[in-house]
C-alpha cells in the first residue's frame, strides 16, 4: 500500500504504520478480498453487505411463501405437515420483516445517507460495522432451528412456530417446550440491538454531519424519512425488548409474567408487542415513501410538490404511529372508550398518509413523465399502497374489524401495504440506485418485463384474498375443507403466487446479469437531483473529492445549473482540506466482528441454558451457562480492545490529475 506524502502542506511529522501498541491484532488495511469486507468501516461496503444478505433472505422468505401457497392450493392438501406449516408462516413473516425489508432499508440508509448529507462516512464507522455483524448474528439465531429438519441430533425442535407476533401464552413452556421459541426470543432481541445501534448512528449522522449549507429543510426527503424511521426504531424497540425479556424469564427462570396460574396476564404481551409492532409498520413503510419521493420528481422532471408538507406528514405519521397500537387488539375487549379512542387515532393517521399521496400526485401533475423501470415501480407503489391503505381504513372501524380480525382479509390488507407498498418501492429503489453503486445500467426491457409479471402476479395472489377473508377463511390455517367455497380463490391466489415468484426471479436474475454485462454508465444516468449523482459510479472510498456546499434543496440540480460557481468553490475546498492534512479516512477494525462473534457464542448458548452440553454423545457440561458466559466475556473483551484501539485513520491526497495517494502519521 502506498504511503506517500505528496503535499508540502501535510502536517504529520513522520510516516508510520497504524499504531500497534495496544492492539492484539494488527489493524487491517486490505482494500480488496475477504478481510476487507469482514473488517470494513466503509458505509458503502456495509450497505452492500446488508443488501446482499437481505436479498438472500428475501428469496428464502419467498420460497417459504410459495410453500405456504402450494399447501393451500387445493383443499385437504398434505404437501407439508401442520407442524412444518406453522414453522413456515412464522418464519415467512419474521424473515420478511426483520431479515428482508428492514435490512434492505438499512442497506439504503448506509448507501445513501452519508452521500446525501455530503459526508464521507457515518458518524461512528466501527459502530456501523458492529450493527451489521450483530444483525447477522440475529439472522443466524432465528434460522438455526431449520437444521433440526436435516440433522435430527441438533434437537432445536425445528424453526420457530409461534407466529411472528409470538402471542402469549403460546410461547410458554407448556405449549412450546422445545428450544425453537428460545432461539426466536433471542434472535429478535439481538436484531433489536442491531437496529437500535444502527439507528443511533444514523440519527447522529443526519443531524451532525450535514455539509455546509444543508439545512434540515434542504435534506432530501429520503434522508428525512430515514431520520424519522431511526427515531421510531430507537423508541419502539425497547418495548419489545422488555416483552422478550419477560418471555425469556418465564421460560427459563420461572417467573409468571404471562402465566395466568401465577397471576400473570397474557394481554400484557399484546400491548407491549404492539407498542413496538405498530411503529414497526411505519419503520417498514417510511423509508419506501422516501425512495418514491426521490424517484417521482426525477422522472416527472419536476421538483417534489409540497416538500415541507411531505416532510411534516412523515414526522406526523411517526408521532401518531405510537398512539394506535391497540387497533390490533379491538377484539380483546378493551372497553368502549379505549376502542373508540384507538379507532379515531387510526383514522387520524390516514390523514398524513393521504396528504403524501396527494403530494406525489401533485408532483406528477403537469410533469413530463418518463416511464423508465424505477418510475413504473414507483407508480405501481402509489396505486397498490393506496389500495392497501383503503382496506386499512376499513380496519379502523372497530365493528367492521371484528368481522375481519384474523381472516384472509387482513392478509390481503398488509400484503398490499408491504408488497404493493414497501416492496414495490424497494424494487424501484434497487433499480434506481443500481447504476450508482455498480456503475452499470439494468436493461430497460427486462426490467419492464419483470415489473409487469410482478404487478400481475402480486394482484392475482392477493386480490382474491379480500374475498376469501370476507367469506370467512381464517389466517394461519393449515388446510380447509372443499365445501367452504374457498377453492377457486385459493387456486387463483396460488397460481398468482407462482407468477409473482417468476417475476421476482426475473428481476433478480436481470440484476445479476447487469452486474457482469450491463451497459456502463456515468455519474448521473437519470439526470437526477440529489448529491449522490454528483460523484462517480461506483463512488470512490472517500465519496467526495471536495465536501460540497449545498445551495438549494435539489443540491445536484443546482450544481448542474451553476457549474462555474461550483467549480471555484470545490477547488477552494480541496485546497483548504489539503492544508489541514488531506482527506481524513477512518481505519478498518477487527473488533466489531469479534464483538459480534462473542455475542453469537453467548446468545447461542444462552438460548439452551438449562440443557447439558454433549459432544459425540457424551455429556461434557451440565448446562450451557459456562459457554454463555464465555461468549459474553469475549464480547466485553472485544469491546474493550475496540475502545483502546481508537478510531485511527489515515489521509488521502488528491493531486491535480485526480490521482489519489495515502499517508499516515498524523496520529489521533
Amino acid at each position: 500500500m502506498a504511503k506517500v506524502i505528496t503535499q508540502s502542506g501535510f502536517t504529520g511529522k513522520e510516516i508510520a504504520q497504524p499504531a500497534t501498541t495496544f492492539s492484539l491484532f494488527t489493524r487491517p488495511t486490505a482494500k480488496t478480498g475477504l478481510v476487507s469486507w469482514l473488517t470494513t468501516v466503509d458505509h458503502k461496503k456495509i450497505g452492500m453487505l446488508y443488501g446482499g444478505f437481505a436479498i438472500l433472505f428475501f428469496l428464502i422468505g419467498g420460497i417459504e411463501a410459495l410453500m405456504i401457497r402450494t399447501q393451500l392450493m387445493v383443499p385437504n392438501n398434505h404437501f407439508v405437515s401442520a407442524q412444518l406449516y406453522s414453522e413456515l408462516f412464522t418464519m415467512h413473516g419474521t424473515t420478511m420483516i426483520f431479515l428482508a425489508v428492514m435490512p434492505l432499508n438499512a442497506a439504503f440508509f448506509n448507501l445513501l445517507i452519508p452521500i446525501q448529507v455530503g459526508a464521507r462516512d457515518v458518524a461512528f464507522p466501527r459502530l456501523n460495522s458492529f450493527s451489521l455483524w450483530v444483525w447477522v448474528v440475529g439472522a443466524i439465531l432465528l434460522n438455526v432451528g431449520w437444521i433440526s429438519h436435516f440433522v435430527p441430533s441438533w434437537n432445536f425442535g425445528g424453526a420457530p412456530d409461534i407466529g411472528w407476533f409470538g402471542y402469549a401464552p403460546l410461547t410458554s413452556k407448556a405449549f412450546t417446550p422445545d428450544l425453537s421459541t428460545d432461539f426466536w426470543v433471542l434472535g429478535i432481541q439481538v436484531l433489536g440491538v442491531s437496529s437500535i445501534v444502527a439507528s443511533l448512528n444514523f440519527i447522529v449522522t443526519i443531524i451532525n454531519l450535514r455539509a455546509p449549507g444543508l439545512t434540515m429543510m434542504r435534506l432530501p426527503v429520503f434522508t428525512w424519512m430515514a431520520l424519522v424511521t431511526s427515531f421510531l426504531l430507537v423508541l419502539a424497540l425497547p418495548a419489545i425488548a422488555i416483552a422478550l425479556i419477560m418471555v425469556m424469564f418465564d421460560r427459563n427462570f420461572g417467573t409468571n409474567f404471562f402465566e395466568v396460574s401465577g397471576g400473570g396476564q397474557p394481554i400484557l404481551w399484546q400491548h407491549l408487542f404492539w407498542v413496538f409492532g405498530h411503529p414497526e409498520v411505519y419503520i417498514l413503510i417510511l423509508p419506501p415513501m422516501g425512495y418514491v419521493s426521490e424517484i417521482l420528481p426525477t422522472f416527472a422532471r419536476k421538483p417534489l410538490f409540497g416538500y415541507p408538507i411531505v416532510v411534516f406528514s412523515g414526522v406526523a405519521i411517526g408521532f401518531i404511529g405510537f398512539g394506535v397500537w391497540s387497533h390490533h387488539m379491538f377484539t380483546t375487549g378493551l372497553g368502549t372508550v379505549a376502542t373508540a379512542a384507538f379507532a379515531l387515532a387510526t383514522m387520524a393517521i390516514a390523514v398524513p398518509t393521504g396528504v403524501k399521496v396527494f403530494n406525489w400526485i401533485g408532483t406528477l401533475w403537469g410533469g413530463r413523465i418518463v416511464t423508465r423501470v424505477p418510475m413504473m415501480f414507483a407508480l405501481g407503489f402509489i396505486w397498490m399502497f393506496m389500495m392497501g391503505g383503503l382496506s386499512g381504513i376499513m380496519h379502523s372501524a372497530a365493528p367492521a374489524d371484528a368481522q375481519q380480525q384474523d381472516s384472509y382479509f387482513v392478509i390481503a390488507h398488509f400484503h398490499y401495504v408491504l408488497i404493493g407498498g414497501a416492496t414495490f418501492a424497494l424494487l424501484a429503489a434497487i433499480h434506481f440506485w443500481f447504476p450508482k453503486f455498480f456503475g452499470r445500467m439494468v436493461p430497460e426491457f427486462w426490467g419492464k418485463v419483470s415489473f409487469w409479471v410482478i404487478f400481475a402476479g402480486f394482484n392475482a395472489t392477493f386480490f382474491p384474498m379480500h374475498f376469501l377473508g370476507l367469506n370467512g377463511m381464517p389466517r394461519r390455517t393449515w388446510t380447509y375443507d372443499s365445501n367452504m367455497g374457498w377453492n377457486e380463490g385459493n387456486l387463483f391466489a396460488t397460481c398468482g403466487a407462482y407468477l409473482l415468484g417468476l417475476g421476482m426471479f426475473t428481476y433478480f436474475a436481470v440484476l445479476v446479469w447487469s452486474y457482469f454485462k450491463g451497459e456502463k454508465c456515468g455519474n448521473d444516468p437519470w439526470d437526477a437531483r440529489t448529491l449522490e449523482w454528483s460523484i462517480p459510479s461506483p463512488p470512490p472510498e472517500h465519496n467526495f473529492a471536495a465536501i460540497p456546499t449545498v445551495h438549494a434543496r435539489d443540491a445536484w440540480w443546482y450544481e448542474k445549473t451553476h457549474k462555474e460557481e461550483i467549480a471555484q468553490e470545490k477547488a477552494a475546498h480541496i485546497k483548504a482540506e489539503e492544508s489541514h492534512g488531506g482527506i481524513h479516512m477512518p481505519d478498518q477494525s477487527w473488533y466489531p466482528l469479534f464483538a459480534a462473534a462473542g455475542l453469537l457464542v453467548g446468545a447461542y448458548n444462552f438460548a439452551q441454558l438449562h440443557y447439558p452440553v454433549t459432544m459425540f454423545g457424551q455429556q461434557v457440561l451440565a448446562s450451557h451457562l459456562p459457554l454463555a458466559i464465555t461468549g459474553l466475556g469475549l464480547m466485553v473483551a472485544a469491546c474493550y480492545l475496540w475502545a483502546l484501539e481508537g478510531p485511527g485513520g489515515y489521509h488521502l491526497h488528491i493531486d491535480a490529475e485526480g490521482k489519489v495517494t495515502e499517508s499516515r502519521g498524523d496520529h489521533h
Binding site: 495496544f22 461512528f124 451532525n208 419502539a236 483502546l644
Partner: protein, 278 residues
Amino acid sequence: MSSPAANGHLDHHHDHTTSTGIPNKKLLWWAFLASDCMFFGALISSHLVYRLNPPPGNAVPTQVFNIELTSFSTFILLMSSLLMALAVNAIQKGNVKSTRTMLLGTIFFGCIFLGGQVFEFTHFVADKHMTLSNSIFGSTFYTLTGTHGTHVAIGVLLLGMMYVRTFKPTHGGSLGRNFLHLLAFAAAAGVAFLFFVPGLLEVIEGESLRAMLSHDAKPLLLGAIACAALVWFARTSNPAVEFGEKNAIDVEAIGLYWHFVDIVWIIIFTAVYLLEYL
C-alpha cells in the same frame, strides 16, 4: 488535534466540526438515553399494572421492604452523581489525576449502591421468602430493580474501563499490563459489591465483624489483593499518558449515562417503594 497538555484551551460546549455544534458522542448518548427511557418506561408500567391488579397471595410490599436501607443507598447513588460531575469538571481542566480520584469515588459509591441491592435481594429471598417466581410482585420487582442494578453495574464497568484507560501511555506500554489492570479493577469492584458492602451491612444489622470476615474470607482476600494490585499499577505506571483534556467528551458521555441511571432510580424508588407507604 493540538497537544493534550494544552490545558483549558478546548471549548467543551461547542464542537465546530459538527453541523449543530453538539459533539457526536454526546448526541449519540442523548439519543440512546431516549431509547433507555422507553425501556424503563415499559418495565415500570408493567410493574404498576401488575401491582394495581394483584392476584390472591401476592407478596405485601411493605412487609418485604427495608425502607431505611433503600433510602440510604438511594442517597449514596445521588451523591455518586456529584462525584461524576466533579470527574467531568476535572478532565475538562486537563487534570488527569483528579479525574482518576473522582472516577474511583463514583465507582465506589456505585458499588455501595449495588452492594445494598445484593444485601436487599438476599434478605428478601432468605427472610421474606419472596423469590423471582413465587409471586407476580416478586417477578416484576426483581426484574425492574435488577435491570436497574444491571445498568449501574454496566456503568461501574464503563467507568472502570475509563479509569484503566487513563493509564495508557503516550508511547510504548503493553496490552497485557493494561488487561491485568482491568482484571484487578473488575475483581476489586466485584468483591466490593458482592461481598464487602453486603458484609458490612450485615455487621450493621448485628452480625459480628469476625463472623463476616471468616465466612467471606476467600473473596475478601482476593479483593484485598486486587486493591493492592490497583495501587501498584497506579504507582508504577508511566506518567506520560495519552489521556487528557481532549477526552473530556468521553468522560462526559459516560457521565450522562450515569446521571440518567440515577434519575431513573429516583423514579423507581418513588413508584416502587415510597408509594407503598402512602
